[in-house]
Symmetry: C2
DNA sequence: TCAAAAGTGTTCGTAATACACCCATGG
DNA sequence: CCATGGGTGTATTACGAACACTTTTGA
């Protein structure tokens, strides 16, 4: 060690997304303490001594949702460090984006006073008239943009699904995240034809009325060729 | 203010890229002080009190290159915070990516003991056998990947060019960054046909042997439609 | 007249869209 | 039987790759 001036506190904030009943939803907490006590905010917290940033993000995710991130996805989003972004002093926050399959409803039992899933409106402002504490509206907007873009060229949509899923379930993920309907026939051909995207299990399911569908697992591809372009 | 525990020092590191004589080059400095004294590293430095992160990146860029970033491009890359990444203690560093047109050779007169342009090898390891201090190899690799990807769907290649440039000059930027030749005929049609990418000045130039070429300025588009896909 | 680079036309394969149509189940 | 959703076939259109060809300059 030596004369290093420690000038900031470091936090991680989480944009946790999931799809519930055809709507893209984000996990928010009601803050219990100042600043912004009583207001909605993204989950997050301080990085502890000796802890790496992804480690801290994973820990916070587990604390807020009880999820150990199996089958989901976690990636760094961006870092926010405006000197006045936290009234307590210099706080530099690295935001992470998490995509999870639908969770058992009780997110209660979590650390935060109240953790709830808020639907993000299909277009325009992410939430309805709601506003989040700190600069979290900006962070959420960036997370949504990133998630929407990544569905195009990566197989990330599978992170929103159960380990085994049907083509229709995957399509509803795309429709929810992009906020627009897709042609089921073309969608089917595209995802099944894209190398490494889906891996058939050989099993069938009849969770819904109509003809039973094949079950798939996520494949090994990390980039989609060709990409799933979203409609104009 | 209040009882906020300041646990880290915050720095910015820069991946500054330019194209020189057909090679993609990165700006590196020879460190003058411990740790890693005498070794090569990315330029960067501590974020000062009351300074925002992009502000600090811009300041460091000016100090190292004397450039006020006119015509270039600066964006946040990612943040690195492994607890042991700096032997002096907890240092969280936000990396920025800068793309600049070719500079006057004398980057001397800069802050760093020695600032030089190092060509990045076309494929495989970014530099030849060189290794950078700290985790800067990792940061550089991420910056290169980001730059290569962004040339596909954004008009960012123009940030490597002078304010007015020819289609051939733009093509040489793509060839240098991607490390592979492109068909001049198809490239010409594609860039001139993509809405908002290029704006003709009406001027001609004859900087090179052969038929004079039209001069263009960067257009207003922020996303390319259709994208410039790099060859397999 | 020749080399070199700018720019156009044409052909061909691949992929996106739109939509007609058949298949397999539950009621 | 029919409603519902799963899945295939096919025509049209857009774009990328390859490459022959014309244009305009300097030497």
């Amino acid at each position: 060690m030596s004369r290093l001036r420690l000038t900031a506190a470091v936090t991680v904030d989480l944009v946790v997304l999931t799809v519930r009943d055809g709507s893209l939803c984000v996990l928010v907490v009601r803050r219990g303490v100042a600043p912004y006590a009583g207001e909605l905010a993204l989950p997050g917290g301080f990085v502890t001594e000796g802890e790496d940033l992804p480690e801290a993000a994973l820990r916070e995710l587990a604390e807020e949702t009880g999820v150990s991130e199996v089958g989901g996805h976690l990636e760094q989003l961006a870092t926010f460090g405006r000197p006045d972004r936290d009234p307590r002093g210099r706080v530099v926050s690295t935001a992470y984006l998490a995509l999870l399959p639908r969770l058992p409803d009780a997110v209660a039992g979590s650390d935060a006073a109240e953790a709830t899933w808020l639907p993000v409106s299909p277009a325009g402002a992410p939430l309805g008239a709601e506003t989040l504490a700190f600069d979290h509206d900006e962070i959420l907007a960036l997370g949504l943009e990133r998630a929407r873009a990544k569905l195009e060229y990566s197989p990330l949509a599978t992170a929103f699904c159960e380990p085994e899923f049907t083509v229709a379930e995957l399509r509803r993920v795309y429709e929810s995240v992009w906020g627009q309907p897709l042609d089921p026939r073309n969608f089917h051909r595209k995802v099944t034809g894209t190398e490494g995207f889906l891996e058939p299990t050989g099993q069938m399911t009849a969770r819904e009325p109509g003809r039973p569908a094949q079950l798939y697992r996520a494949g090994t591809a990390r980039l989609l060729h060709p990409a799933m372009l979203r409609p104009a």
